[in-house]
Symmetry: C2
Subunit: 283 residues, 2 copies
């Protein structure tokens, strides 16, 4: 009998997506310029039992904001489902909501409702975000010849950044307002894994290891996940203008090119998806 | 130190709602005629470990559809977050999705995306629904003199109906298209509890025990919860037309009136909220 751990998270999502047309981007794109996304945060997986509740709330909201950023969208409204143990202090829940509200307010997003339920073991927070975007940037729009860029520095998220990161909403809005961004994704599972989502038949991503900006080790930058930086592609003729006009404190780095071929390569060697997988396969 | 169980589910929601303007209805009402709602379903709370996965999926979707029905809305798009143990059979997940899709499709609603995560203990399913409605019916619109109606028979949900119920989308759409429905809610926590949500200063709900349609006992009808029938109020002058035109197989029963006063009464006696509470207070 095949079990969830045997096919891994991406195998499972592939399987479940078969009946979901247009699945496979950071948000669902709906008529009327609407974006819809949801993302769960679970105790023991995405945060430890001792993590301050305000940070848990921030992270739960920011992960979803990052998915809206990845499409170049504006977050507008959120609903929140939380599972709580009966013995949890009310103060903890209040702090959780303070974190949720803080992250939402920073990007003019409003929490409009939600629901709570009892759990016996692991507490969880599921945020669903509704955003708006006239021309959402998909994962699959990169063209042969494109330059590949990344914001910020990768890696080091486990040292704490995964709880405090600022989603790249403003940067993504600016990018899509001033440039024709061909493809974009936020880095949640690690560069090595997430770059695979930008692939399509006939194109290859060639990345240059020496260019990848990182904290700690290159290995962590490739595989640790939860960077929540943006990875995007753009016409190489726009690169000079992009570099000149870029006005944010966060770093902007060209790390490779899109060429004819298939798969992803790092310094010419095949780069496989070894990012974080919620259901790692048995080896 | 105050804990979640000390203030109960409704106490908690009241507390959390203080920073959420317009909270407190079945769905959040957004600009552009949009309705947004989310509702978690947790193993051990909303379904037992041995419950067939297809029924779990049906219930998780139908609960949310019922919230859209309660506003007189049309469900349009859903996203689904699921927490799964690694040892769960892939077949179980496939069946879960079959149930989710079956309930959604029945009401022309489309699952457009979602996410999965690993859990160690309790599996969960959080469905978020986006619906549309030009004139949503709120909980608080009832007027003095209104007749109070309920669809279907109440109680008996624990015997299995809570896994197989059909949300009253069609009935609610018909009601709001043909009549001026003043206030409406779906019965998720039990009539005794849910009627309290329709109260506001200056009005009282007088219910007639002999009129309440039930399966099993009146007590179960009042307090068991998970009926997912509609409770609504309407101008008494429209009652004859309503009875004449009503075209659905499901029962429609007048169970009381809205009068000047405060609180809810059953046969003249104060009726307190003793519906199901996810965090029952210690006594």
């Amino acid at each position: 009998m095949k079990r969830v751990r045997d096919i891994g998270e991406f195998g499972l999502i592939r399987e479940l997506s078969q009946n979901i047309p247009h699945a496979g981007d950071d948000c669902a794109v709906l008529p009327g310029g609407l974006l819809l996304t949801c993302d769960p945060v679970v105790e023991g997986i995405h945060f430890l039992p001792g993590t301050p509740a305000r940070r848990v709330g921030w992270k739960a909201m920011a992960r979803n904001l990052s998915d809206i950023a990845a499409m170049g969208g504006l977050p507008r409204w959120a609903v929140v489902s939380i599972g709580l143990r009966p013995a949890t202090p009310v103060r903890w829940v209040r702090e959780l909501y303070a974190g949720l509200h803080a992250a939402a307010r920073r990007f003019d997003c409003e929490i409009v409702g939600g629901d709570t339920t009892h759990v016996k073991h692991e507490q969880f927070v599921v945020v669903t975000l509704l955003g708006q975007c006239n021309r959402p940037v998909l994962r699959t729009g990169s063209k042969i010849g494109d330059s590949v860029f990344v914001t910020g520095k990768l890696g080091g998220s486990r040292a704490g950044k995964h709880l405090t990161f600022v989603p790249r909403i403003k940067e993504a809005r600016w990018l899509t307002a001033h440039f024709d961004i061909h493809a974009m994704i936020d880095l949640s599972d690690g560069l090595a894994s997430d770059v695979q989502h930008l692939l399509r038949p006939g194109i290859r991503f060639d990345l240059d290891a020496a260019e990848i900006p990182f904290r700690g080790s290159l290995r962590a930058a490739l595989t640790e996940g939860e960077d929540f930086e943006l990875l995007f592609t753009i016409d190489p003729r726009a690169v000079t203008a992009l570099r000149t006009k870029w006005k944010f404190p966060v770093k902007l780095t060209e790390i490779g090119h899109v060429v004819r071929g298939h798969g992803a390569r790092l310094d010419g060697q095949p780069l496989s998806a070894k990012g974080y997988d919620h259901f790692p396969k048995r080896r």
